[in-house]
């Protein structure tokens, strides 16, 4: 059984090869047939199974029933049940958040969506999420802007540039980043990485400081949004890389050869064949990363300094702040009255909705532009014009 294309593994022992029938004709599969036969045949036939049995004995009535095997019904119930449980859990989380948030929101004396004040306790509670929303979103978006190009680069390097003996370790190293707990990222970011970033922060702010977003208050505070963004970027790098890598590797060889046969260099081949094919996958990977960055708690809490004062609002990315998650985690000790708790839960609800919207957007983009999903629709249109012109 030597193959003409030379894929035969070397060092196979000489002599008669084991026949596949010998291996299959063991008790394993036969037992499975027994089980089937027992369910459908009641006359105690032990071997052969239904197919062979009916072939052997043509006078016997074919065993075509009864409908609905026990295992099938069990599995169907299990599958339906699991689906229902997931939907129930999501619904319960939503109901819980709403039920606890609504009373607090009703007592709120300031605009919940547009106020930046956070004083939920007392006789006249006033709280709004504008500052939290801004900090959460900008830190995550900057993280994505940093992480996605690097992830695409790593994914392309692993799939189309590196020799296999380098590509595999690099891929594993990136995957390993995902296994680091976020508390470790927090400690590492706050104690080791943030001081290293200081020159970068100072350089950027002195070059671009005339734009309010890059304006920096005097001092050497490194527990700022920018630092958080860089650490978040490292944290979401593995997931974005892994998905991009998968989708790039799936680019059909015919597309790649089509480009190469036209005299494309490797980069031109990537641009003509690989990137268009993988675009939707990269978008959905980025959205998944964004979703993770939005909800990240511990690392943000440790790194980001909380500004003092009544309205310590600073739009700069070189200032401290609080995200939804870090605000809630920082103040977990304050959940002493339903009003206060309700305020924090309302903030959590907004985070829930934002993350949900991001994930939905990702799904929508993927469904719209997946290589498989887009073309049939266009095909139909092209086919229609073809039919009309013919």
């Amino acid at each position: 059984m030597s193959s003409p294309d030379g894929t035969e593994p070397p060092g196979r022992p000489a002599g008669p090869e084991p026949k596949i029938e010998d291996l299959v004709d063991e008790t394993g599969p036969a037992l499975r047939f027994d089980a089937l036969a027992e369910e459908t045949d009641d006359d105690g036939r032990r071997t052969g199974g239904t197919a062979v049995a009916t072939k052997d004995d043509s006078k016997k009535e074919l065993a075509l029933g009864p409908v609905g095997h026990l295992g099938d019904r069990l599995f169907s119930g299990l599958a339906h049940g699991s689906g229902a449980v997931v939907i129930l859990i999501v619904a319960f989380v939503g109901v819980f958040l709403l039920a606890l948030a609504i009373p607090a929101l009703a007592d709120n004396n300031s605009n919940f969506l547009f106020s930046r004040v956070w004083e939920p306790g007392g006789a006249e509670p006033r709280f709004g999420i504008a500052a939290l929303f801004y900090t959460t979103l900008i830190s995550s978006v900057i993280a994505m802007v940093i992480a996605v190009p690097i992830a695409i680069g790593v994914a392309l390097f692993v799939t189309y540039y590196a020799p296999r003996r380098i590509a595999t370790p690099v891929a594993h190293a990136v995957d390993l980043l995902a296994a680091v707990p976020s508390i470790v990222y927090g400690l590492w970011g706050a104690l080791f990485f943030a001081p290293i970033l200081l020159p970068v922060i100072n350089g950027l702010s002195s070059a671009l400081g005339w734009i309010p977003v890059f304006d920096k208050a005097p001092g050497d505070n490194v527990g700022v949004i920018f630092t958080v963004s860089v650490v978040l970027a490292i944290m979401i790098l593995p997931v974005v890389t892994a998905i991009s890598r998968e989708i790039f590797a799936q680019t059909p060889i015919s597309h790649r050869e089509g480009a190469l046969a036209l005299g494309a260099t490797r980069w031109e081949m990537v641009r003509m064949a690989v990137l268009p094919y993988g675009r939707s996958g990269v978008v959905s990977a980025s959205m998944l990363g964004l979703g993770r960055a939005l909800g990240e708690t511990v690392a943000v809490m440790i790194i980001l300094t909380v500004p003092n004062g009544n309205d310590p609002w600073d739009p700069s990315i070189f200032a401290g702040g609080e995200t939804f998650a870090s605000k809630i985690a920082n103040n977990a000790a304050e959940f002493d009255s339903p009003e206060k708790t309700g305020a924090f839960i309302a903030a959590g609800l907004v985070l829930f909705v934002v993350t949900f919207l991001v994930n939905s957007a990702a799904r929508l983009i993927v469904a719209r532009s997946a290589p498989g999903a887009k073309r049939p629709r266009r095909n139909r249109r092209a086919g229609a014009t073809e039919g009309a012109s013919a």
Binding site: H255, L262, G263
Partner: protein, 258 residues
Amino acid sequence: MAKRIEVSGLNVYYGDFKAVEDVSMTIEPRSVTAFIGPSGCGKSTYLRTLNRMHEVIPGARVEGKVLLDQQDLYATGVDPVAVRRVVGMVFQRPNPFPTMSIFDNVASGLKLNGVKDRKKLTQVVEESLQGANLWNEVKDRLDKPGAGLSGGQQQRLCIARAIAVEPEVILMDEPCSALDPISTLAIEDLIEKLKDRFTVVIVTHNMQQAARVSDQTAFFNLAATGKPGRLIEMGPTKQIFSNPTEKATEDYITGRFG
């Protein structure tokens, strides 16, 4: 526009496995040469060595010489990318770029060569589509995706894409094996037309096709399974199909193979 290919003593390896052994042949300019032979005899592998496309496959390497008008394609300092711009290729399955329009598919090779002038692009796209007998069918929908065409139209689109860069040689690896008989006929007519401008080399499993379109036919075969493929016989198509020198060739073309 068309050049002579001279191959001498060519061996192709996949890793340690020798896939093709000691092939020497001359392919005349402005002619159609067909490669026939059983599956796995190395004719597609050999075809790919004529524009170094085999290098896409990890571990594939070549010994010997392939001269294109006296220039060795395997000499040091020869860029495979440049080779492929001179020796174009059409594949078994039509492979237009799915995200590109018909126009962009044909223009893609030119854009690789740095042609940006819209007027020039439009002109070459029209000429190439006419050269591929496709212009009349697509001229009203050049901005539609190439993947929306029928299989036969897609294959002619791929041929248009290949000839748009004005190569010297066009290699075709079983270009009709995924097509219906009508589309196959369209491609065969096109090959007849292409040989006025290009050197065409075609691999085919269809012996009637080889007999219909080619001037020269080369028969490849394996000595035995696991052994490398060899060129058994090459000559004018008429002679190969009516009066072959080798017994193996006669057995193959009369269906008495094996």
